[in-house]
């Protein structure tokens, strides 16, 4: 049984087709890059997996189960926006997570805060956008979840913070997990990916192992991206 399997997964908002008949099988211990321009359906796919939305049609199974309160316990989703309560201190965020998620590791979290130089006694509202991005990554990666999804973890932050976040993802990702990362910044993400999934207008236009792509076609994911999306 695969960790995550979708069959003809479709999501329609009002009249707009966000995802169109997606067939996807994801395995654990792999890093997937979910790549595509804005509005290609990356976030929608993640939200469906996270059980924050319901599909219009088609099927999505996590360990053979439909997304539910139970599967949420094994799926870690980091949205693009800062979703953590502003009034909490960073220590409180850790307590909140360990109160609700059995797979949350308080020790990992506190270590990550140290590593990323985030002060523990500061409030979430006082964080800069770069710090806030780091916090979101730290809190998400501190869960030993089976599926870890990071939506645009590199957006709107400076170069050094990006490096720090990529390093953290490599260093701290729970080894047993399937990790799904979405980004526009294909070049930065490339070295840490196993598989690339290219989405366009709600459809998968390319999916494959990134090393095979380099070996067989002699091009990078970024160049494949340009090939697919460039005019």
């Amino acid at each position: 049984m695969s960790l995550l399997k979708t069959e003809k997964l479709t999501k329609i908002y009002q009249n707009r087709m966000a995802l169109s008949s997606i067939n996807l099988t994801l395995e654990s211990k792999k890093v997937y890059g979910l790549l595509g321009p804005n509005g290609s359906g990356k976030t929608t796919l993640m939200k469906l997996i996270a059980n924050l939305m319901q599909p219009t049609s088609g099927q999505l199974l996590i360990n053979g189960e439909k997304p539910s309160v139970t599967t949420r316990a094994t799926v870690a989703y980091m949205p693009t926006e800062s979703f953590i309560y502003k009034s909490m201190k960073l220590v409180d965020v850790g307590n909140f997570y360990s109160d609700f998620f059995e797979d949350f590791n308080q020790e990992t979290y506190l270590n990550l805060l140290d590593e990323m130089e985030l002060p523990k006694q500061i409030k979430v509202s006082a964080l800069s956008s770069g710090m806030s991005a780091k916090l979101r990554v730290a809190v998400t990666l501190s869960r030993k979840a089976q599926i870890i999804m990071l939506d645009e973890p590199l957006n709107g932050i400076d170069l050094l913070t990006r490096d720090c976040i990529i390093k953290t993802i490599v260093d701290n990702s729970y080894e047993e997990a399937a990790i799904i990362i979405s980004s526009h910044l294909v070049e930065l993400l490339e070295p840490i990916l196993d598989e690339a999934i290219l989405l366009d207008k709600g459809k998968i236009v390319y999916m494959g192992n990134v090393e095979n792509l380099r070996e067989n076609e002699g091009i990078s994911v970024a160049n494949k991206y340009r090939e697919v999306f460039g005019s």
Binding site: V31, K167, V170, E190, P191, I192, D194, E215, V221, N223
Partner: protein, 117 residues
């Protein structure tokens, strides 16, 4: 950290770098390689690529792995020398073929190299 050419397989680039380090004697005192995870972190690649690096190195008889212990440099006196030879040959061949593509003859190439000092 290594700067990668994203158009080339990542594992090959890491292998080339490790070979260079072997030739430079980085592993002569301690033949044990870092664990897959450590390698992934050190090179900023993902753990599956790191595992593939070791698999390829094993296939090329450069290293061997002991179950539960780790990966080690092959105990072969000639290994460093051989690696150096092969890598030098590869570089030389590609250099020569590139130069001859530009229309240089072998003698002209030797002249060019002498000028370079």
């Amino acid at each position: 950290m290594l700067t990668y050419d994203n158009n080339q397989p990542m594992y090959k680039q890491v292998i080339d770098d490790i070979k260079k380090r072997i030739v430079n004697g980085d592993f002569s005192h301690n033949p044990q390689f870092p664990s897959t995870r450590e390698l992934a972190i050190a090179y900023g690649i993902n753990p599956n690529t790191a595992a593939r690096v070791y698999k390829e190195l094993e296939l090329q008889h450069i290293c061997y792995s002991k179950k539960g212990v780790g990966t080690f440099l092959m105990n072969n006196l000639k290994l460093e020398e051989d690696l150096k030879r092969t890598m030098a040959d590869n570089l030389l061949n590609s250099f020569l073929s590139n130069m001859s593509d530009l229309g240089f003859s072998k003698d002209e190439i030797i002249e060019e190299i002498k000028k370079e000092d």
